[in-house]
Symmetry: C2
Subunit: 383 residues, 2 copies
């Protein structure tokens, strides 16, 4: 990608209303997101690319754990919430995002999907032969927070991964739960997030046991993942049953498992930054190489930069080239700010056939020939 | 994927309320989607996989045309629609999906994103040096249709690709428009959709010229793509300007370009089915190979089926194995219904080291050794 064909509006300074955190400051300054309304954000191209990379890590680990992906709608009839007895418990954060449609039927914007998945299960999972199964989605959720804050950490529209396990009995649930727990550890380790786990009050989820994953960082909010053993709370209320081997009707034994996917952008940043900007872990970085020709108008430099750019593309290495007409200082500052793992500076020593190869995380700098760049990067571990 | 670990609830018959079409009948019967409320659907795993494959084709062609992906929120402050003068034009399909949040600020669920993208542009695109640029998203849209119908064709919550081009002048717009038009032709050809194009009334979009892509099929609805030259209609009203080479403020010259992504599932089916079910074009098929061991409990058959399954996975060939305890007839019917391009039947002749290889589209059947299956499939064109 050429910078001039992209939309990566970095900012020297940002004005933050209310509480400040490194992740909020850096997501704005590095041009990842922009606020449209309180707690509602647009993901600009670089921010969306990060989000998709995080999604892919989550999806890979869910699939590895045997979970199956589907996609439920954001709009839900509130009648389902009456069946589960949660309708009267709804707080203003959910009620104020509910409304009546043109035919006077009440809908809400889903903050979670237990009711919908149980409705799917009671129609489509009829026999013990179809169990166990864990279904998940990566989907936009809504919640009219009293006080949206810290950018992507506590928003009103956000991306979640929510998984739901269905088993014949509690022993089965323990196995399904354990698989999800292991997947969560793998996900957060791959994303280089330091975290701890806590047992927690399962509250409105109505279950018996729950555990939360909490990220380290200066941001005081932060639950990033949550696992619940729901048991038969929902399936009994909503009459979601399967036929067991003896042909008897029994309620599904359920678990549910959430990850705040868009919130993970903030958690990754809180765990991977320095005074100059973000340091993306490799599995999350939208580009692997940041090419910095210092004077792209100069033919030698342009030729060398274009050659490295092409060889990176041919090797399947995602590359961003800063072909703007800006000073060296501005380009260096922006490169450190947006935090692509490897930087290549093409400057005065281009005439000698030399470039500077920089590693963003360690600040290591190596002088090498331009032909060596791609092989050097490919030799680093991909995670 | 093993059928028993998946959720693919095919149905012998479906009961359709209201108007019937092949695509609605087949999306329900093949277990792709389920209705949650009028015009609101869950994508079951197979349906979601098809949706993602279609998304990928759209994304590839958008990127090839140089468009840059971002992601705007579903929730929009109606104040933006007052700026563009569209607020008073809103029909009930949009107004009934608007509401006030807990702080009494009015929000709507976006049916389209002109206002939001113009708001992004007026803050982030300041100079002619950043132009031209075409930004797009693949995002969930909402519209409280009076009469949702034909399943995914006219729903109340649906997936769209919407792109917006920004140019310095109308010559630039012509170029950007042309690139999108070419991308649309490539997309619909790759998806094997027969279509024609019409010049159309640009209506509420407020522009000067527009063109629509209409799919063939029995479904009377089915616009699948739409291109508009908006000119400066939005940028003038919303004061979205850039500085030209002379340092003068000028309004962006815009175009907008939509594709109904979830609707394309219906269009693909309408153009690719027969009396027995769906015939997925290769670029859309979630699995390339459907393995049908006729008696998976029989050790010879199981061993051969498992061997083909493993060799497909190792070759990166997505494979579904029907390991259910069902009759041959049921398995054949389901295989034809769900429409995976290549079927391999492992039956009585397994003892002779033979399987039946079937091509869903042509009904061709070839007897071969199990070791030949993967190479045979890889030898077919990937599109």
């Amino acid at each position: 990608m050429l910078w001039t064909n992209y939309l990566l509006p970095t900012q020297k300074e940002v004005r933050i209303e209310g509480e400040d955190t490194a992740s909020l400051r850096l997501t704005l300054q590095a041009g990842l997101i922009r606020q449209l309304a309180s707690g509602i954000y647009t993901f600009l191209p670089f921010g969306l690319a990060v989000l998709r990379r995080i999604e892919d890590v989550v999806r890979e680990e869910m699939n590895r754990a045997g979970a199956v992906e589907l996609l439920m709608p954001a709009l839900q009839p509130t009648s389902l919430w009456k069946e589960s007895d949660r309708y009267q418990l709804l707080g203003k954060d959910i009620v104020s995002f509910s409304f009546k449609d043109r035919h006077d039927r009440e809908l809400l914007l889903g903050p979670t999907h237990e009711e919908v998945i149980v409705d799917v299960a009671r129609h489509e999972i009829l026999s013990y032969r179809q169990l166990p199964i864990t279904l998940y989605q990566i989907q936009t959720k809504f919640r009219d927070e009293m006080r949206p804050r810290f950018g992507l950490v506590r928003g009103r529209e956000f991306l979640m991964k929510d998984a739901y396990s269905f088993d014949t009995d509690t022993d089965g649930l323990d196995v399904s739960y354990q698989k999800m727990s292991e997947a969560y550890h793998r996900i957060f380790r791959r994303l280089r997030i330091k975290y701890h786990t806590d047992q927690a009050d399962s509250g409105a989820m109505g279950g018996k046991f729950s555990e939360e994953f909490v990220a380290e960082g200066e941001c005081p909010e932060l639950e990033i993942g949550h696992l619940f053993k729901l048991g038969t709370a929902y399936s009994e209320k909503m009459r979601a049953v399967f036929l067991d081997e003896q042909g008897r009707q029994r309620p599904f034994v359920m678990g549910c498992y959430g990850i705040g996917v868009s919130r993970l952008i903030a958690a990754v940043i809180e765990n991977n930054f320095d005074a100059d900007g973000i340091i993306w872990p490799i599995p999350v970085a939208p580009f692997r190489l940041h090419l910095i020709p210092l004077n792209y108008g100069q033919p030698n430099i342009k030729a060398m930069a274009d050659r490295i750019y092409q060889s990176a593309l041919e090797a399947g290495l995602p590359v961003l080239m800063d072909n703007r007409d800006r000073s060296a200082g501005e380009k260096f500052k922006d490169a450190d700010l947006v935090g692509i793992p490897y930087q290549v500076v093409i400057g005065k020593r281009a005439v000698e056939g030399k470039i500077d190869f920089r590693i963003r995380r360690t600040r290591e700098q190596i002088t090498m020939a331009p032909e060596e760049v791609v092989a050097k990067i490919l030799a680093f571990p991909a995670e």
